[in-house]
C-alpha cells in the first residue's frame, strides 16, 4: 500500500513542477521567446477540455451506458471541422477588439452592452459552479481511493473525512492566483499558464494510456480477448449496442450538440482557444490534432470499464474510481500513483483555467462596470484594485464550487454534474453563432434569448439538483410544483420522452433561439449595436474571400475625407487627398459622389492605420450599410483598438510636448532670474568700483591743477590715492575670485591636509593686522592633526577672512578674538569669536550675501569689498560644509563653519 506521506508529497511535488513549467513559460515570454507560439502547444492547451471528468467519469459512464460517454468527444471532433471557418473569425474579431473573455465577446457583438456582458458572466459563474465542484469531487475521490483502498483504516491522519475537497479547493485557489494574476494587465496572455496546461495534457494522456495498456494487454491478452470475455457477461454484452444509452439516439444527439458548443463556449475553452491564441494559423493544426488527442485518450475507456466491471464483479466499487482501482487491485502501486497524477493534472488544469477565465469575466464584465457606475472605483486607482478583485474572484469561484459539492456532490455521478454545466455553456451558442452570421440579431434579442435560456436551464437542471439532494422538497420535481406534472422540471408540458439533460437542452435552446430570433425581428437596432453587427458578420479578412471587386455605392467625398481625417488627423488627410487629386489630375469637390478609384484609395489610406480587415469593414459599412450614419461609424472607429492605440500615441506626444514646453518655460524663468541677478551684480560692482575711482580722480585732478599746493597736503592726497588704488585692485581680484568659486568651475586642488596646520598659517598671516589694531588673538587647537581633503589655499583664505573681520569689528578698547578648532569623528568645526558689537539677528543671514556690508552698526564705513563673507560661504559650500554666525553671549559674535571629514 502507498504511504500517505508519499501520496501527499508526490502531489505537492507535481504541483511544484507545474509551477516551474509556468514560471519558465512566463520567463520565456518576457524574454520575447514564447514557447507557446507553437501549434502543438496550442493543441495540447485546448486539451484542458479533458478534465477529471474525462479521466475518471468516462470510465464510470462507459461502465453504465457503453458508448454513452463518446458524444462528449465526438461533438468537439465535429465542431473542430468548422474551426477553420468559425473559430478563426472569432479569434480575428477578438484580436481586433482586444477581447478578454467570452462575456466580453458577446457583449462586443451586441453593441458593447454592459447588460449582456453581466448576464453572460452570471450564467457562466452559476453554470460552471457544478463543473468546478465536479473536479473537487474527482480529486477528493481519487485521494480517498488511494488512501482507503482495501480496508485501510478510515482515519488517514492527514485529511479529515470529506473536507479533503475543501483543502483541495483552497490549494487550487492559491495555485490559480499564482498562475493567473501575477500581472495586472488583463489583456496580457498567460503564457506560463498555457505552458503548464499543455504539460498537464501530456501527463494525463500518458497516465491514462499507461493504465489502458496495462489493463488491455497485461490483465487481458489484447482487446479481442477482453471483449470475448465481456461478451460472456450479460450486463456488459448489453452495453455493446445503442440500447444501453438512456434516451437513445435523442440523448446521443443532444450530448453531441452540447459538446460541440462546450468545446468552444465553455469559458475556459474560449480562454485557451481564443484569448490565449498567438497565431490564427495554429487553428490549422489544432483542427485535426485535437480530435486525434481525444481519439487516443478515449481508445481505452471501454476496455478499462469492462475490465473493471469484470474484475470487481459483485464488489461495491464506484465505477468512477475504476481507473485507479484496477492497478491498485493488481498491486501496481506506482502505476496507480501515476494514474493519480494524471487525474490530478486533468482536474487542476481545468480548475486553474476556468477560475482564471471566470475571475476575468467577473471583474471585467460585472464588478468593475458596476463599481465604476456606482463610483466606488476611480479609474486612476484601478490597477491594484483589479488585481485584488480578480484574486478574490478566483477564491470565490472555487469556494462556490466547493459549496455546490457539499450541497449536491454526493448525489450525482461525475458525468451528470458535468453535463449540467455543458447545458449552461450551450446557452452562449445562439447569440455567438447567430451573431456572427446574421446581422439582424439584436442586443435586445440576445438579452431576451440568454435570459430565457438561462431561466429554463436553471429550472430544469439546477433546481432539481437541489431538490434531489434534499435541500428543496422533492415533490417540486416529481410530480411538479403544486402537484402539477406539466410544470415538473424534468417533464415540462409532460414532455417525457427525453432524459433530464436532453429535456433541458431542448427547452432552453427553444426559448433561447426563439426569443433571440423573434425579438430581433421586431427590434429596431440602432447605432453601435447595428455597427458592431456589421463588423462581426463581415469580420473575416477581405483577403480570405478573395473578393477584390471594386466598391460600388454612393458616398460623398467629404464623408471619405472625414473618415480618414478621423484616423490620421485633418492635416495629413488633406495632404493625402490633395496628393491623390494631383496624381489623378482631378478636382475633388466635397459634395460630389466618390468614384471607385477614390474609394479604393480611401480604403488603402485607412488600412495603413487600422489594417486591411478593419478598413474593409469600415468601407463596407460606410458604403453598403443600410441605415448607417457616418457618425455611427466614427463612434465605432473610436473604439477599435487601433484608434485607441493611435490616440494614445498622440496623447503621449502631446504630453511630451507639454512637458517640453513647461521645461522651456521653467528655463526661461530661470534665465530671467539670472538676468536680474546679473544686472544687480553688475550694478553693484560698478558702484563699488566708482567709489574708489571717484576719490582717485578727484584727488589726482586737484594735485594736477594745484601747482602751488602745500607739499604735506599733496603727500597726504597721494597717499590716499595709493590706498584707494589698492582697494580697487583688491576689489577686482575678489570679484574675479568670487565668480570663479561660485560658478564651481574651479574646484581647486584636492589634497589631504591638516586643518590645524592651515589654521596656524592663517593666524600667522593676520598677526600683523592684530598687532596694528591692538587686538589679542587666542586660539585653541587639538593636539593631533585634523586630517581632511580640501583646497589648502582656499581654506587659509576663509580663516584669514574670518579672523580679519573679527579683528576689524572688535571692541575698540580691549579687542579680543578667540579661535577654536574642534575635531569630531565625522566633522570638523571652527569657531571665531570677537567681542565687538555683534550682529543683529535679521542681518545674520544676509551678511553672507555678496556686497552686503554691515553699515549701520559701526561708525563710518569699513574698507571691505562686501565680497569676503560671500567668498567664504562659497568655498565652504564647495567643500560640502556649512557656515553661519551666532550671538556670542557676553557681546560680539561667533562665526562658525563645519567641514565634513571627507570633504570634497
Amino acid at each position: 500500500m502507498l504511504p500517505h506521506w508519499l501520496i501527499l508529497s508526490v502531489s505537492f511535488g507535481y504541483l511544484g513542477l507545474l509551477f516551474a513549467v509556468a514560471y519558465y513559460g512566463d520567463k520565456r515570454a518576457d524574454a520575447g521567446r514564447s514557447i507557446i507560439s507553437n501549434p502543438y502547444i496550442y493543441t495540447f492547451s485546448i486539451a484542458v477540455y479533458c478534465t477529471g471528468w474525462t479521466f475518471y467519469g468516462s470510465v464510470g459512464r462507459a461502465a453504465a451506458t457503453g458508448a454513452g460517454f463518446l458524444p462528449i468527444y465526438l461533438g468537439p471532433t465535429l465542431a473542430a471541422l468548422l474551426w477553420w471557418l468559425v473559430l478563426r473569425k472569432i479569434i480575428h474579431l477578438s484580436k481586433v477588439f482586444n477581447i478578454t473573455s467570452i462575456a466580453d465577446f458577446i457583449a462586443s457583438r451586441f453593441g458593447k452592452s454592459m447588460k449582456i456582458g453581466g448576464l453572460v458572466t452570471i450564467i457562466a459563474v452559476v453554470g460552471i459552479m457544478p463543473y468546478i465542484s465536479l473536479q473537487l469531487k474527482a480529486i477528493s475521490l481519487s485521494f480517498n481511493t488511494l488512501f482507503h483502498f482495501h480496508g485501510i483504516p478510515q482515519d488517514s491522519g492527514f485529511f479529515v473525512g470529506e473536507d479533503t475537497a475543501l483543502y483541495v479547493a483552497l490549494i487550487l485557489a492559491v495555485f490559480s492566483i499564482l498562475f493567473g494574476t501575477r500581472h495586472i494587465d488583463v489583456t496580457e496572455r498567460h503564457e506560463g499558464m498555457v505552458a503548464a496546461i499543455a504539460f498537464e495534457s501530456l501527463v494525463k494522456f500518458l497516465a491514462f494510456t499507461a493504465v489502458g495498456l496495462f489493463v488491455t494487454f497485461s490483465i487481458y491478452k489484447g482487446p479481442a480477448n477482453l471483449y470475448a470475455e465481456a461478451m460472456q457477461v450479460p450486463e456488459l454484452a448489453r452495453l455493446m449496442q445503442m440500447d444501453a444509452l438512456p434516451g437513445g439516439y435523442a440523448t446521443w444527439f443532444s450530448l453531441t450538440f452540447i459538446s460541440m458548443t462546450a468545446i468552444m463556449f465553455l469559458p475556459r475553452q474560449f480562454q485557451v482557444l481564443v484569448v490565449e491564441n498567438v497565431n490564427e494559423d495554429h487553428v490549422r493544426t489544432a483542427t485535426w490534432l485535437f480530435p486525434l488527442y481525444l481519439f487516443a485518450i478515449n481508445l481505452f475507456v471501454i476496455p478499462i470499464a469492462f475490465a473493471g466491471v469484470m474484475q470487481f464483479a459483485g464488489a461495491n466499487v464506484d465505477p468512477d474510481t475504476l481507473v485507479l482501482a484496477l492497478p491498485l487491485m493488481h498491486g501496481h502501486n506506482l502505476l496507480a500513483l501515476f494514474v493519480f497524477l494524471g487525474g490530478l493534472s486533468a482536474a487542476t488544469g481545468m480548475v486553474i483555467v476556468e477560475s482564471i477565465a471566470l475571475s476575468t469575466m467577473l471583474s471585467n464584465d460585472l464588478l468593475v462596470p458596476i463599481m465604476l457606475r456606482l463610483k466606488l472605483l476611480r479609474t486612476e486607482a484601478m490597477g491594484g484594485v483589479l488585481l485584488m478583485l480578480r484574486r478574490g474572484c478566483i477564491l470565490g469561484v472555487l469556494l462556490l464550487g466547493y459549496l455546490y459539492f457539499r450541497l449536491i456532490g454526493e448525489s450525482y455521478a461525475l458525468v451528470t454534474i458535468g453535463l449540467v454545466s455543458f447545458a449552461a455553456a450551450a446557452q452562449f451558442a445562439p447569440p455567438i453563432l447567430l451573431g456572427l452570421y446574421w446581422k439582424g440579431a439584436s442586443r435586445t434579442g440576445a438579452l431576451a434569448g440568454l435570459a430565457a435560456g438561462f431561466v429554463v436551464w436553471a429550472y430544469t437542471l439546477l433546481l432539481p439538483s437541489f431538490a434531489k439532494s434534499g435541500w428543496l422538497p422533492i415533490s417540486l420535481v416529481d410530480p411538479g410544483p403544486f402537484g402539477i406534472s406539466a410544470l415538473g422540471p424534468y417533464h415540462l408540458l409532460n414532455l417525457t420522452m427525453f432524459d433530464p439533460i436532453t429535456h433541458s437542452v431542448f427547452w432552453s435552446m427553444l426559448f433561447n433561439v426563439g426569443f433571440l430570433v423573434v425579438v430581433s425581428l421586431y427590434d429596431r437596432p440602432a447605432g453601435l449595436d447595428q455597427l458592431q453587427a456589421a463588423v462581426f458578420v463581415q469580420g473575416s479578412r477581405a483577403s480570405d474571400t478573395g473578393d477584390t471587386r471594386l466598391w460600388h455605392g454612393t458616398t460623398r467625398v467629404a464623408d471619405l475625407m472625414g473618415l480618414v481625417a478621423r484616423l490620421i488627423g485633418v492635416d495629413r488627410a488633406e495632404r493625402a487627398f490633395q496628393a491623390y487629386a494631383q496624381q489623378h489630375r482631378v478636382q475633388l469637390n466635397s459634395d460630389n459622389v466618390a468614384d471607385a478609384t477614390l474609394l479604393e484609395f480611401t480604403e488603402r489610406e485607412l488600412a495603413k492605420t487600422v489594417g486591411a480587415a478593419s478598413a474593409r469593414v469600415m468601407m463596407s459599412s460606410i458604403i453598403e450599410g443600410e441605415a448607417l450614419s457616418i457618425e455611427g461609424l466614427m463612434r465605432i472607429m473610436d473604439e477599435t483598438s487601433q484608434v485607441i492605440e493611435y490616440s494614445r500615441q498622440l496623447e503621449q506626444k502631446s504630453r511630451e510636448l507639454e512637458a517640453a514646453t513647461q521645461e522651456l518655460q521653467r528655463t526661461n524663468e530661470r534665465l530671467k532670474e539670472l538676468d536680474v541677478l546679473k544686472d544687480d551684480f553688475v550694478n553693484t560692482i560698478s558702484h563699488e568700483l566708482r567709489t574708489p575711482l571717484t576719490s582717485i580722480r578727484a584727488l589726482s585732478e586737484i594735485v594736477h591743477d594745484e601747482v602751488n599746493m602745500d607739499p604735506d597736503e599733496r603727500q597726504r592726497f597721494l597717499g590716499i590715492m595709493v590706498k584707494e588704488t589698492e582697494r580697487l585692485t583688491r576689489l577686482v581680484n575678489q570679484v574675479l575670485d568670487f565668480s570663479k568659486i561660485e560658478s564651481g568651475a574651479v574646484r581647486g586642488i584636492q589634497e589631504e591636509l591638516d586643518l590645524a596646520d592651515v589654521t596656524q598659517e592663517a593666524l600667522a598671516a593676520t598677526s600683523q593686522l592684530a598687532r596694528d589694531r591692538d587686538v589679542t588673538i587666542s586660539s585653541q587647537l587639538p593636539s593631533e592633526p585634523v586630517r581632511l581633503i580640501g583646497d589648502r589655499d582656499r581654506l587659509v583664505q576663509v580663516i584669514v577672512n574670518l579672523l580679519s573681520n573679527a579683528i576689524k569689528y572688535c571692541d575698540d578698547q580691549v579687542g579680543k578674538v578667540h579661535l577654536r578648532l574642534i575635531s569630531d569623528p565625522d566633522e570638523v568645526r571652527m569657531e571665531v569669536r570677537d567681542n565687538g558689537p555683534g550682529i543683529r539677528p535679521e542681518e545674520r543671514e544676509r551678511i553672507f550675501e555678496k556686497f552686503h556690508q554691515l553699515s549701520d552698526t559701526v561708525k563710518g564705513k569699513p574698507h571691505g569689498t562686501g565680497l569676503g563673507l560671500a567668498i567664504c560661504k562659497a568655498i565652504i559650500q564647495n567643500h560640502g560644509g556649512r557656515i553661519w554666525v551666532e550671538d556670542n553671549f557676553g557681546g560680539g559674535s561667533i562665526f562658525t563653519f563645519t567641514l565634513p571629514r571627507q570633504a570634497l
Binding site: N38, E280, T287, S543
Partner: protein, 78 residues
C-alpha cells in the same frame, strides 16, 4: 473559384457527412451484436468514422500554396 473558398466548402461538407454518420439512423446500422476482429461493431464503427474524420480534415487543411491565404507563418515548432 479561389482554392480557399473551395476548402471551406469541403470542410462544411465533411462536417455534414460526419454529423450524419454519427447519428440516427446511420448509427443504428452499427448497433448490432457482431464483432470485427474481435471488437464490437458499434465501437469499431465509431472509432473508425472518428479516425476517418481526423484524417480527412488533416488532409483538407494541409498547407497549399494559396496566394489569398493568410500571410506566411513562422516555421512551426520554434
Amino acid at each position: 473559384m479561389p482554392e480557399s473558398k473551395r476548402r471551406n466548402e469541403r470542410l462544411v461538407a465533411l462536417f455534414v457527412a460526419a454529423l450524419l454518420a454519427l447519428n440516427f439512423p446511420l448509427l443504428s446500422l452499427a448497433s448490432v451484436m457482431k464483432q470485427v476482429w474481435g471488437i464490437p461493431v458499434l465501437y469499431f464503427y465509431l472509432f473508425f468514422v472518428w479516425a476517418f474524420i481526423i484524417l480527412a480534415s488533416g488532409l483538407t487543411l494541409k498547407r497549399t500554396r494559396d496566394p489569398s491565404g493568410p500571410a506566411p507563418e513562422p516555421p512551426a515548432g520554434t
